[in-house]
């Protein structure tokens, strides 16, 4: 091994490690801060997080899980069908619909939420977790449709054709042949849908009206202003950690899948 390659290897590890520490330290600090109490370390802050007047209640967690499940399920369904349509079919209005879907990214959240609130009232879904999930699905669509379209395009055409030759109907071709082929894309789309819906703050704040339907994020943000405008930083960090742990675990365990999802999806502009 030459000296210069040893040097470059050395510098690679030093830079990489330094950056990794930099990126991980806020996460580690929030974990540490959430455990630190006046006298030492303990679960006091978490206790406050769950028992104070504005704290997290079991039904908040249940609501968050419901919204996440509905959003992930809905996003996967719509994006799979839509991605298949955009990736494999030609039909009138295809490009327009695709561009419109992407345009969702260009609208400032603050204004469209009022309009959405009005709309949900019209269709009788005000203050409902289903209504919130539908809105969250819509916001997930640009990313998800784009991702799934590219995933479907990347599947070799022969695979689909051989299935049709075998007499599979279109639907069974999709479910039996195509879906397994785009699995990494599905995992990525599902993961990001979960991440967004689990930690979304503004949409639930505006769209939900009663404490029964509140999600966990609302409870955590409420901690920010709980007692007469003073921040309980420690309990806040406990809330941040509580919100982040499920996502961190999912992220860490599914890394391989979603990196593959990206390689087959997002890569192509």
């Amino acid at each position: 091994m030459t000296r210069s390659s040893a040097m470059s290897r050395w510098s690679y590890y030093v830079t990489g490690t330094a950056l990794a520490i930099l990126f991980l330290s806020p996460l580690l600090w929030s974990g540490w801060a959430s455990l630190r109490t006046g006298t030492g370390f303990g679960l006091e802050n978490y206790d406050r997080l769950f028992t104070s007047d504005n704290g997290i209640r079991p039904h908040h967690v249940l609501n968050s899980l419901t919204v996440s499940a509905l959003t992930v399920g809905g996003t996967l369904l719509v994006a799979t069908l839509g991605g298949y349509a955009f990736g494999r079919f030609r039909f009138p209005g295809r490009d327009v619909l695709f561009l419109l879907t992407l345009a969702i990214l260009m609208v400032p959240y603050a204004t469209i939420l009022i309009a959405l609130y009005v709309l949900l009232g019209w269709i009788g879904l005000q203050d409902s977790l289903v209504g919130l999930s539908l809105v969250l699905i819509m916001f997930q669509l640009p990313f998800s449709i784009f991702m799934m379209r590219n995933s479907f395009e990347a599947v070799p055409r022969e695979l689909e054709e051989s299935a049709q030759v075998d007499g599979c109907s279109s639907v069974s071709t999709l479910t039996r042949i195509m879906l397994p082929a785009v699995r990494p894309g599905l995992v990525t789309v599902g993961l990001f849908a979960f991440l967004t819906s689990w930690s979304e703050f503004f949409a639930p704040l505006i769209l939900l009206n009663s404490t029964d339907t509140f999600t966990t994020t609302l409870a955590v943000v409420n901690m920010r202003t709980a007692s007469h405008g003073s921040i309980d930083y420690a309990a806040l960090e406990a809330g941040v950690v509580f919100m982040a742990v499920p996502c961190l675990l999912l992220f860490a365990f599914m890394q391989r899948s979603y990196v593959r999802g990206f390689t087959s999806g997002a890569l192509k502009g």
């Binding site: 009005v118 704040l205 505006i206 409420n222 920010r224 202003t225």
Partner: protein, 429 residues
């Protein structure tokens, strides 16, 4: 437009009432309809929204009311910062709750937008109109009609640390009687050194500054706004003097350095630390600070050369304009203004009663500081302006820019430019 909407509302409220009564199979004769002025207690489910800051009081009212009434009130609170957004979107979708509270200085805006139901006749019939905090009532008034009633009272007072007073050789039983004396006290305490500071204020928080500085302007005989809330008067000599005094305290390092960046959230924490000698702040903090083991004294806020005043803040509450249960909601409001609620819920919880005739009650007399706070209601003011939030409280308001300039920049220019900008903002449609 409004009257037609109101009539439709009353009709539908009456219809709903009948339906509700029928559905419950109640034997009682249907009480006075929604068009009447009395409250109705028929087992309705009422929703009440409030901001997080005053949630505990609303909850205490609701719990006590629910225990003795058939109507049931459910309180939902929202983060302070996002509460106006929540109300606006609910109103836009015509889905306001049956009852909602608002910071009293925002009340005029909500009243002018018609977010609350007109309660003029109901209030007149209740016989309480002259007994409740006039500032709050005025704030909830638009074009001569009452839309909101007082809900909670919070006043600005001088809070001082008795232990630090003793250490600095000051009399812990005697607070300052003028703003100049306040500055002297702060300087003396600051000389104690270490991490102790003379005073503290929210220099990056429009709401904090108006709440704590304006009483000094009023005490000196000055004014900040005209009565209609359409013209600013912040370029007055009184205002300039008050700013100059606080500015000097900051420049000398008597005010804690964090005062410059204090946007509100850590204000209470600073006072709870026990390292601040004396500072103007909300009266409701008295208990919260003493919880941390800091012994506090209370004094009125005064003008540079004396003259006590206070900013009467807190919340006003009204019936959501889109509510179909106005009569039941009014029943709750009537009850919250009753002697029973004001004494057994508010005064017992060390709060300031919204009733001026109940300022001294069996709970207040136990603590002379509470007597002092309650007595200030008569000397205080609540400013009135339709565009109050956008002009003064919002972080992007022209007032906050003025404050920053007056305290940390070119004072004279900021006050005169600010006066123009605030007036423009106040008059905006």
């Amino acid at each position: 437009m409004r009257s037609r909407g109101l009539r439709a509302l009353a009709v539908s409220a009456a219809a709903l009432l009948v339906a509700a009564v029928a559905a419950c199979g109640s034997d009682e004769p249907a009480g006075p309809g929604a068009s009447g002025t009395a409250g109705v207690d028929d087992g309705a489910q009422l929703t009440l929204w409030t901001r997080a800051a005053t949630e505990s009081v609303s909850k205490a009212y609701a719990d006590a009311y629910n225990a003795t009434h058939k109507n049931k009130v459910t309180v939902t609170s929202y983060p302070n910062e996002e509460y106006p957004a929540k109300l606006a979107s609910a109103a836009g979708a015509k889905a306001l709750p049956d009852l909602f509270g608002a910071d009293v200085v925002f009340a005029a805006q909500y009243a002018s937008q018609g977010l609350w139901t007109d309660v003029t006749e109901r209030l007149a019939a209740s016989g309480l109109k002259d007994k409740v905090s006039p500032g709050h009532l005025n704030a909830g008034t638009w074009e001569g009609k009452n839309y909101a009633v007082p809900h909670t009272v919070d006043m600005s007072v001088m809070l001082y640390n008795k232990d630090l007073y003793t250490k600095a050789g000051l009399d812990p039983e005697k607070g300052p009687t003028s703003l100049k004396e306040f500055a002297e006290h702060a300087r003396k305490i600051d000389k104690l050194g270490g991490d102790v500071n003379g005073t503290y204020f929210g220099g990056n928080c429009g709401g904090c500054v108006e709440f704590t500085f304006w009483p000094s302007v009023w005490g000196a005989g000055g004014d900040v706004l005209d009565a209609k809330g359409e013209t600013a008067k912040v370029d007055s000599k009184e205002m300039a003097d008050v700013f100059a005094l606080y500015r000097a305290l900051y420049d000398e390092g008597v005010a804690a350095p964090a005062s410059k960046d204090e946007a509100g959230p850590t204000w209470l924490g600073a006072l709870q630390s026990g390292k601040i000698g004396i500072a103007p702040g909300p009266s409701v903090w008295l208990g919260l600070i003493e919880e941390k083991g800091v012994k506090m004294g209370v004094a009125p806020i005064s003008g540079p050369d004396g003259g006590d005043s206070t900013f009467i803040g807190g919340d006003a509450i009204g019936i959501g304009a889109t509510s179909t249960k106005a009569a039941q909601a009014w029943d709750f409001l009537l009850w919250t203004m009753s002697e029973e609620a004001q004494v057994e819920v508010v005064a017992k919880g060390k709060g300031v009663p919204i009733r001026t005739d109940l300022a001294s009650n069996k709970y207040s007399s136990a603590d002379p500081r509470i007597v002092l706070i309650n007595s200030l209601v008569a000397k205080g003011r609540t400013p009135y302006a339709k565009n109050f939030n956008a002009s003064f409280n919002d972080p992007q308001s022209p007032w906050l820019q003025t404050v920053r300039g007056a305290l940390f920049g070119d004072a004279a220019k900021s006050l005169s430019d600010g006066n123009t900008a605030i007036t423009k903002s106040l008059q905006q449609g």
